[in-house]
Amino acid sequence: MRKRALRIISGLGGVLAILAITPSTVFGQEIYEPTTQDILNNVWVFLAGVLVFFMQAGFALVEAGLTRAKNVVNIFAKNVADAVVGVLAFFAVGFAFAYGGDGTWIGDSMFFLSGGDAFGIAEAGALTLSTDFFFQAVFAATAVTIASGAMAERTKFTSYLVFSFVMCALIYPVVVHWTWGGGLIAKIEIGDAVFSDFAGSGVVHMTGGMAALMGAFFLGPRIGKYDADGNARAIPGHNIPFAILGVFILWVGWFGFNPGSELLADFEVPRLAVNTMLAAAAGALATTIVIWSKTGKPDLAFIGNGALAGLVAITAPVGTVNYGMACVIGAVGGIIVVFSVLFFDRIKIDDPVGAISVHGVVGAWGVISVGLFAQYPDAFVEGKVGLENYTASGLFYGGGPDQLIVQLLMVLIIGVWVTITTGALFAAMKATIGLRVSREEEIEGLDYLEHGIEGYAHDVAHQS
């Protein structure tokens, strides 16, 4: 037995040794030898992807902190579920629909990541299929998890699983295909302007935010959110520390989200991180000022929303604006989010965490801000040109209205697609498997009745 095993092992070792020393052209194809830069690119984008995946923890904590204790298991379950189902759906078909081929409407290859080079890259500056998929999958997980906050405390778990699947299998991938995948929106050219969304204010956040809006709309408000006169009642979150820790974790994760979208390890990476940092701080400060003057107190839950609004706002223009404008864009996001949250409360759309406002409305602002403030060339705005000879495309930098018009078209197209598809999905679920838990379950709390366990169980004391 041992002798036979040893023979097999030495045989394998011999084959591997021969393969290792064989010149790469022997097997009839050019194999590109990656340089140190190529490896740095891939390792950086991978690490950035890890940071983005950690945002799942951030989202979960924000949502749990701003909702009630009796539903805490359910909110975390939704966050685990959309990451799990989302990633698998994206692996199976979503990545293919997003990036498979050159079609205008949808991708048609690379299902289950087939057909690509599993181990190497074809040319300098490229990402391996594994790096590319990893980074894109964590973005898909981000898009889908946005809705769980707006749908918290009253959504059936099974229905949310279905939503997670459809969102990451189809709805989000089509948005990606139309933009970063080179499809419908990417083909729009007005003058010299093409769409610009560096890391996804539109592609990821606006998409997630609009899905959240449709979800909250078809669900209806939580029991007790509105009194007999139609005024909104506060339903305070049960753990503000969770919520703010969640904000910080998201903030850290965004240092992967934006700088990682450079898809290269170069000097842009830290500059993008600085823009990201400044926008978040400016957003939080702007919200602080607005809410303090409006209500007389600096409401920390709102301020957390403000930091996130700044982050969402800068996500599209991050590559193309200067530091000062990053502050401005973040601050405007922080101002918008306050009025947006109050607006949705007034029109009876119950959004427990402000996801529709932070991601949907401010995501649209982020996309539009490119048209106003775009200055430097980034991968979309000018192609990779040197910093000596670029022409700025933002309206306020002398670029005229072309970029702004493309950005507005992008907001419109994504908005229409996501509204119609998620609306149809939620309406169909409402009419068939049901979208909302029963009244008794909602009052009692979802944790025991949907999941069979409590979030904060009292200690049991078995004596024997």
Partner: protein
């Protein structure tokens, strides 16, 4: 003076509070408690193993009232805390020997 104590379902607290305010009760004290009567508990599963939960979350509220107001208060609580389903709770009335308002030192019914 009498102490009226009621153990009720937690989500009924707002209704009971509104009903008591409507009949002029000035203040109540509320505690979060666990308990069971005939309602019994339920069985939960944790990581594959079952365990019994006997105690159900409830809210206990206490209000001290003038003798004359007791019946009205009991009726108000009974009406507003009822759901008709098992586990609605209980109300009991006991004597209060002495009552003092801390801020002013008033005693007796003036301290209610």
């Amino acid at each position: 003076m009498k102490l009226v104590t009621a153990v009720i379902k937690p989500f009924k607290l707002d209704d009971v509070k509104d009903a008591l305010k409507a009949i002029g009760v000035a203040g109540i004290t509320v505690t979060e408690v666990r308990g069971f009567g005939r309602q019994g508990g339920h069985t939960e599963t944790y990581r594959g193993a079952e365990y019994k939960i006997d105690f159900v979350p409830k809210v206990s509220l206490e209000v001290v009232v003038d003798d004359a107001a007791v019946d009205g208060v009991v009726d108000a609580i009974k009406a507003s805390a009822a759901t008709g389903k098992i586990g609605d709770g209980k109300i009991w009335v006991s004597d209060v020997d002495r009552m003092v308002r801390i801020r002013t030192g008033e005693e007796g019914p003036d301290a209610i």
